[in-house]
Amino acid sequence: MENIRNQTKIFFLRILNIPFAFLMQAIDLIMWPIQKIIGVRNMPYIFLLPNLIFFGLFVIIPLGANFFFSLSSGDELLFAERELPTTKQYDQLFDCESYLNPNTCTEDFFWRGVYNTIFFVVFQVGLMIFFSVLTAVILNKKIIGRGFFRSVFFFPVLLSPVVVGLIWQWILLKNGAFNAIIESYGGDKVSFLTDPSWAMASVIFVSIWAHMGFYTLIVLAGLQAIPPNLYEAAEMDGTSRERIFFRITLPLLMPNLLVVFILASIKGVQTFDEIYVLTGGGPGTSTSLIVQYIFTTGFASSGSVQNFGLAAAASMVLGVVLLFLTLMQLYFSRNKESKHQEI
């Protein structure tokens, strides 16, 4: 009985296998001559080709197009109708009497974006690392509801940036929830989003709230990878908790913190959507970052000239900054890998 059952099973499997076998034969029919021509060693490139075609189509070609746009001028979209080649856009972008004072630059909006981005990244990344470590250390302890709190801190990461912007706009507006609470305690309303001295602090806070969960998770993984026997040995030696943190936890966490630093910096430089929803870059240009400058110059000029060339030049500059940060990340992560291999 068992034998009949097995034979039936094998029979059906063979039937099911027919289309796959047919398919593999068909593929073989194509691959065999290719392999004959280019050799076995080069076959991996053939398998990578489909992916490379998509990568080229949607990344490399647009990158190249962006580069050529940055070397052209005019308000037309099609290359054939644009003035090419010209370095006018780069000249305009870097035309400044003093780079420290955006008001002296021809493209003052760009330089305001640069300074705002630097300010934003320095404070957002710095504070984010601080709070991520703090939260991860707490969540690494055996506290009640640890799983729940881990989910709570991670939840904002799942939200769309537009949703984050809208939620916090509702909370921080002058007639928003937060001011209602302040007023109920007899305080004066605060213009969190429309007062230049508050607006940047507000967007930094919201950005940390939205992204901290992800970085907390990386730090938490790092904390859990620290061998417990190190802590046991330190405790047996009577080392204070502060000393344990600064001499064991922090040094061993450094590789993770470096990853957090670089990833958060890249993300920080690219920030756009949640701030655009929250403050629109205002008041004035006090929360307008580089990406918003690119977007507004190229695509959202509200009836003014859509300066694709200038936007492309600015995005090339941004690309160089991001490339530098990415190379830094690659360098440090490879450095870390080789150290592990040495160990």
């Binding site: 001028s73 005019g74 308000d75 037309e76 979209l77 099609l78 003035e83 305009q92 008001n103 021809t106 003052d108 909006f109 305001r112 002058k174 213009s191 989003l193 429309t194 007062d195 230049p196 403050t279 629109g280 870059g281 205002g282 008041p283 004035g284 240009t285 006090s286 929360t287 307008s288 918003q292 507004t296 695509f299 959202a300 000029s301 509200s302 009836g303 003014s304 000239v305 859509q306 300066n307 060339g309 200038l310």
Partner: protein
């Protein structure tokens, strides 16, 4: 025998298939896509009803109405058009700015002279310089910028409304007085728009063009008005929360504050009538008042939106003829409570709201008082460049990023820079 049967069956099948294909092709409706932005249901519902009616009466044409946000008209449409894409017809407000994409529908409309007679002065706003004959579309509604006041607050404060001839300074003074007496937080609020600033600036003497007719933005008139706006923001007459909530040239309207009765005087325009009638309702009385005066004039800015064609074919012509007909336009304008762009249209406004009726009369009465500079500015192909330069730089000055002197210099530079990019040089 069997072979013959199979052959016959195949022949019958082929003939039937061919006939089906031919009939399908010959009866396939031509698609006409309209990109439409509306001021909420008040405008979207009437136009959708008209389109449904048209589709039912014309089975050979299938009009597709894409209702989009205003931002899509301002920012997405120009990119679509530049890429050679875009709808067949769109409702636009940057009337001259997109003129290189408009299609001439003259050969496809039933009676070109109807367009000339009915929309004559506006047709030039859509045409390229030098063109005096093309028909690209028609004015959907005409608009006039001007102020509204919260009449209930004036009554509560015991302050009389000012009449025609009152200056901007006088209106600011009474608005502050009413706000103080009634505890209203914002005496004055303006739409954040260079177009809105321009009427008052022309009243103060702004000319916008040099003697050759080329854009020349900053002069004493513009300086006077923008300085006034700057001072009002610093003094608290206008709230920084409104213009500070966005950056660059982004448009922002103070409707939320107005609807909540937190504003005494609001500078906007006739397109708000239907909206106020719906949203304010009986909460308070709102009154449109004549455009305040400056030393040079007492003018608002004309404007409006037009349905303009980007493809010319018989179907587009037929749709345009239908939507621009007196019957359809009158019905639309009557429902949305707007000023018609049609020069000879009897409109039966469908409202009992005395505030709306008064506002319609006020704005319609303001049309003859519009200054010629305002008409010239509205008709100019590069007016948006000037409007945007005003609002983005003034916005920066108000929040303290630059002085007014720097802002004026930047306004001129911005205009010059953009014109160079557009026209070369």
């Amino acid at each position: 025998m069997i072979f013959k049967f199979i052959l016959k069956a195949i022949s019958v099948a082929l003939v039937s298939f061919s006939l089906t294909l031919i009939s399908a092709v010959s009866f396939a409706a031509t698609d006409v896509r309209i990109m439409w932005y509306g001021d909420g249901d008040k405008e979207n519902v009437p136009i959708a009803a008209q389109i449904d009616e048209f589709n039912a009466a014309n089975p050979d044409i299938n009009v597709i109405l894409d209702i989009v946000p205003y931002d899509a008209i301002m920012n997405t449409l120009p990119i679509q058009l530049a890429a050679g894409e875009g709808p067949d017809i769109a409702r636009v407000t940057d009337l001259g700015g997109l003129n290189k994409y408009y299609a001439d529908i003259t050969p496809y409309v039933a009676d070109p002279s109807y367009y000339e007679k009915s929309f004559g002065p506006f047709l030039n706003w859509y045409r390229k310089p030098g063109d005096t004959t093309s028909i690209h579309g028609f004015h959907s509604t005409m608009t006039v910028t001007g102020p509204y006041v919260n009449k209930t607050l004036f009554e509560q404060a015991g302050v009389d409304l000012l009449g025609p001839g009152a200056t901007w300074e006088e209106w600011a003074a009474v608005s502050i007085e009413v706000a103080e007496k009634t505890g209203t937080p914002i005496p004055m609020a303006w739409d954040r728009s260079g177009h809105r600033v321009s009427g008052p600036a022309i009243s103060m003497g702004a000319k916008y063009f040099d003697s050759n007719g080329d854009p020349k933005l900053v002069d004493d008139g513009l300086k006077a008005m923008t300085q006034m706006l700057y001072d009002w923001h610093q003094a608290g007459t206008m709230s920084k929360d409104l213009w500070g909530s966005v950056s660059g040239s982004k448009y922002h309207a103070p409707n939320d504050w107005w609807n909540a009765a937190e504003v005494v005087f609001m500078m906007s325009g006739s397109w708000q009538i239907g909206r106020f009638a719906n949203e304010v309702g009986d909460d308070f009385d709102w009154w449109a008042v004549p455009a305040p005066c400056g030393p040079a004039a007492c003018t608002g800015m004309p404007g409006g939106n037009a349905l303009l064609a980007f493809n010319a074919n018989p179907a587009v012509g037929k749709v345009m003829d239908y939507l621009s007909s007196k019957e359809q336009l009158s019905s639309f304008i009557g429902q949305v409570l707007a000023i018609p762009g049609h020069l000879d249209l009897q409109v039966d406004y469908q409202t009992d709201d005395p505030n709306a009726k008064h506002a319609l009369n006020t704005f319609a009465g303001a049309v003859p008082t519009i200054d010629q500079v305002a008409f010239d500015l509205q008709a100019h192909v590069d007016n948006r460049i000037m409007f945007n330069a005003i609002i983005s730089r003034l916005g920066q000055a108000i929040v303290g990023e630059m002085t007014m002197e720097e802002a004026w210099a930047r306004m001129d530079e911005d205009v010059e820079k953009q014109l160079k990019e557009k026209y070369g040089g």
